[in-house]
Each structure stands twice: as C-alpha cells, then as structure tokens.
C-alpha cells in the first residue's frame, strides 16, 4: 500500500473507532449507575426509555428501563449555562478539558480490536487497529498516559480555587507515583512476548493468558485503578474533603468533558488490560472466524468495567498518606521484584538451565 492509502485507511478506522467510543462511554455511565444501584439495593435510573415486550396476561414487560438516560444527560449538559468563574486563567481554563479528553482518544490508536480480517473488501493485516504493526505501541501507550495528567493538573490550577488546586496537586502526585508501578507491570507481558507491539503480545497469548502471572496482573489492575482515580483511590475528588476536587469550578459541557475523559479511560484501560493480560481479541474459534475478535474483546472490556464498578461499590476511600505509602512501599517493590524474577527466569530458560 502507498502511504496515502495507509493514511486514508487510518483516518476511516480511527473515525469509526472514535465514534463507537464516544457513544460507548455514554453507555458505560449507564452501566455504572445501574450496576452500582443493584449492588447498593437501589433501582437506579429507570425513567428515560424502555424496550416494551409482551408479558403475561396481555400486559407488557419493560426491558432495560432507563436506556435513554445517557442521551438525556448529554442534552442536559449541553443546554446548561456555560459560565466562567471570575479570576480564572481563561486560556488554561478552556484548554484543560480538551487536554483531558484528547489523550484518552489518542490511546485508541494502538489497541488491536481483531486479528487479520477482511471488512468490505479491505484486508487488515497483521491485525485490525488504527495504527497496526507499530513496534513501539506499548511505549506509545505509556507516553500518552503520562500526558493525560495535564488535564487534571491544569484544571486544578486554572480554576483559582483552593479545593481545585488541592485536587490538582493530589492528582499529579498520585498519577506520577502509580505510573511507575504500572510501567513495571506492563514490562512483564513485553518480556514474555519479546515485543513492544501489542498485536504480537496478543498473538503470543494463544497458549495461555499472561494473567496467570498473578503479581504482574494484580499490580497492573491496582495501578490502573489509581491512574483512573476511581474508588478506593479517588482522593483527587474526595467529596467530603474537596467538594469535588479539580473540576469543582467547571459546569455544563466543560464538566461533561472531564466526565467523558474519565469514562473513556475506564473503557480504554479495560481494553488494555484485556490486551496485555487476558488474551485481547483471542478466544475459541477466532482463527477460523476473525470477526469474533471484536465480540471477545467487547466481552472482556465489559467484564473489566463490571470489575471496576464492583470494586468501587465494595471499598471505602483510602487516606492520602495510606495511598502514597501503598504506592511506594508496597506496590512498587512488588512490581520491581516480580520484574527481576521474571527476567532472570526468562534468561535461565533461554540458556537451557531450567525449563
């Protein structure tokens, strides 16, 4: 293919994947509200829309009550008054929500959604992604994640509010601390697959899932929760202490963009966790029917989301010093030790000393 064709294909795939993600994030909020409500013995949003089905005795059963709730939320956010508080740094205040959303969308470029596949006559090889075959895909992911902290930090600073700046400072400290443990745990699949290409990491997992390396997978999941700033690590927006932290001065669709970034990151990190540790798009019969890849990855993403929501419903928030102590004194040493052990074992295997 010529560079022009590659660019056009990347544009089309990128546009469609981003569109799916933008609507997908809305339904992630619904999933979270519904599931959280069930876990807390509530009903959750059930007013906006339902799917009517014929029921017993001529009545009707209402399925998925409230499935239009995300649409209603979006309309509400768009119609709200777009106000800017006095005394803010206007340029940075307007820039911060965009800096929160853009990295979340950029990470999509390297995630493999399915294996080698032909859609509408277009052949995607070696796998279906916006930028397939990038030999620095894992590093790209890490670098875009590390850029993501700017949205929160700058929002906190530009708002000219004590609560917001405290939230921003907490966010930067937390994300820098947990990025280290996350990086160390990502290195385990990289070493096992002997590649920085996410597609190769997935195809190497045809035998067994890398999640069997439980320390690496556990450290990764904990670090991701901290990176996403979700309970029990959501010190950044602790309501009792900071009212809502970095986004307290934002309203309307600007607030909506922070919300969007948070839920898109949830989806994306579920996809990354599935790719690195749970076999990505691989599953039974995926070699015969490549289209199944989308379905398997979708299932794994939903499972990841449900786990994140379940944890949110189960655990109380940590104290700030506990959060830092846990990150630096527990998680990072475990990650480093695990990294060293796996590296040594791999070398010993290559030298033929152990099997």
């Amino acid at each position: 293919m010529t560079p022009g064709q590659i660019a056009i294909r990347a544009l089309i795939v990128g546009f469609s994947v981003s569109m799916v993600m933008v609507t997908g994030f809305a339904y992630t909020t619904l999933l979270e509200r519904k599931l959280l409500a069930r876990l807390q013995h509530r009903i959750g949003p059930n007013r906006a829309g339902y799917i009517p089905l014929p029921g017993k005795n001529g009545g009707e059963r209402r399925l998925i009550k409230g499935f239009l709730q995300p649409g209603a939320d979006a309309v509400k956010l768009f119609l709200k008054e777009d106000q800017t508080p006095a005394g803010v740094d206007r340029f940075v205040y307007n820039l911060a929500p965009m800096l929160a959303v853009i990295p979340a969308i950029l990470i999509l470029a390297v995630i493999p959604w399915a294996g080698e596949i032909t859609i509408f006559g277009a052949h995607f090889a070696p796998y279906f992604a916006i930028a397939p075959g990038l030999d620095v895909a894992v590093l790209y992911m890490l670098s875009i994640t590390s850029i993501g902290v700017y949205g929160v930090v700058l929002a906190g600073w530009a708002s000219n509010s004590k609560y917001a700046i405290l939230g921003g400072i907490r966010a930067s400290a937390q994300m820098i601390s947990y990025e280290l443990a996350m990086g160390m745990s990502i290195l385990i699949p990289v070493m096992l697959a002997d590649s920085l290409d996410l597609g190769v990491i997935v195809s190497q997992q045809s035998g067994y899932w890398y999640a069997l390396h439980i320390p690496a997978a556990a450290v990764f999941l904990l670090a991701v929760m901290a990176e996403l700033q979700r309970l029990p690590f959501d010190l950044v927006e602790a309501e009792q202490e900071l009212s809502s932290g970095f986004n307290v001065e934002y309203g309307g669709m600007r607030f909506g963009m922070f919300f969007m970034a948070e839920y898109m990151k949830m989806v994306i990190f579920s996809a990354i966790a599935a790719t690195l540790f749970f076999g990505g798009y691989r599953g039974p019969f995926v070699d015969q029917l490549p289209g199944l890849g989308f379905f398997y990855l979708f299932l794994k993403i939903v499972a990841g989301l449900c786990m994140l929501i379940w944890i949110r419903a189960s655990f109380p928030r940590l104290r700030y010093d506990q959060l830092m102590a846990f990150g630096w004194k527990r998680l990072l040493p475990i990650a480093v030790l695990n990294f060293i052990i796996v590296a040594v074992v791999i070398v010993l295997q290559q030298e033929g000393i152990i099997f």
Binding site: D89, F91, V92, L134, D135, V136, L139, Y140, L142, S143, I144, T145, S146, I147, V149, Y150, V153, L154, G156, W157, I165, G168, I169, S172, A173, M175, I176, E179, L196
Partner: protein, 169 residues
C-alpha cells in the same frame, strides 16, 4: 516535498513555542510552552525515523519532568515572574554573551562537520537495535549515568530523612 513541508511546520512550532516560553511572564504558561516544544521535538524524531526516541522523549520530558515542574510551581505558588528584562541589566548582558557563544559554536560545528549529514533512512533505530547499541557498545557510559542518577536519588532521600529525624518516625 512532503517531508520538507512537515519540517518547516514543525520548525515554526518549535521555535515559536521556545520563544513563547521565554517571553511568557506566567510560569505555568512557560511550562506549557516547554511541553509543546518537547512534543514538537518528539515529532521531529518520528520524521527522522526514530519512533522509540520520540516516545521516550514524550514519556520522560513531557510526561514526568514537566509534571514535576508544574507540581513545584503550583505548590510554591511561584506563577508570577519578574519583568521581562529582569532586575539587573548585567544578567541580560551575560545572557546575551552566552547566547552569542552558543551561536558561534553552532556555526563552527556546521562549517566543520555539516557536510556529512546522515540520511534518516540509513539508520536502524528500532527498539531492538537501540537496545543492543546501549547494552553492548555503550554499556559502560550507560552504567555510569545510571549510578550518577542513583546517587542523586539517594542524596535526596538522605536530605529529607535528616530533616525529619527526631520529630516523628
């Protein structure tokens, strides 16, 4: 043709953001300009067929070091800088002299060595090639740099511990 257009565009952004960093009187704006500059340079690396370096550049400089800068600026509340020309004119004269030296050095280097530019396509800059270079050809300098950074880190830890001794453990 396409490459030179990309180069010109990137060059304008890089120089513009560098000037913006110097001229801006708000430390956070300066830091943001510097982040933009680092990212532009990362794109330069991509154009030069070195994606690994580009990603490391973004992760280390834009993602870690500048976030720490931002953290310190916000923590100290040191956003406002002095006037554009500083307090003392002597500083300005010295800075101008150093800048002049830099330009002269650059020109000398360009005249002496500049004729042997290496084409980007001739270099193998894949992660594997770079790793082999680093750990075979340059393993000694690499280790020296590692020890240097480690000693700096140990020094910081010792400084903070001795400040707190006796107060609370």
């Amino acid at each position: 043709m396409g490459n030179s257009f990309v180069f010109m565009l990137l060059a304008v952004i890089a120089v513009g953001s560098a000037i913006g960093m110097l001229v801006s009187r708000d430390a956070v704006h300066s830091a943001l300009f510097l982040v933009l500059n680092f990212i532009t340079i990362a794109v330069f690396y991509v154009v030069l067929n070195a994606p690994f370096l580009a990603m490391v550049q973004v992760t280390v400089y834009a993602g870690a070091i500048m976030v720490l800068f931002m953290f310190v600026i916000m923590l100290l509340g040191a956003e406002r800088l002095r006037g554009m020309w500083g307090d003392r004119p002597s500083e300005l004269v010295f800075a101008a002299f150093l800048g002049f030296l830099l330009v002269v050095t650059f020109l000398i280097a360009l005249v002496m060595e500049g004729k042997t530019a290496v084409s980007a396509n001739m270099i193998d800059s894949s992660p594997v090639a770079l790793g082999l270079r680093l750990f075979e050809g340059y393993v000694f300098p690499f280790e020296v740099v590692g020890i240097l950074l480690l000693s700096a880190m140990v020094g910081v830890v010792i400084l903070t511990i001795s400040n707190k001794r006796g107060k609370n453990v």
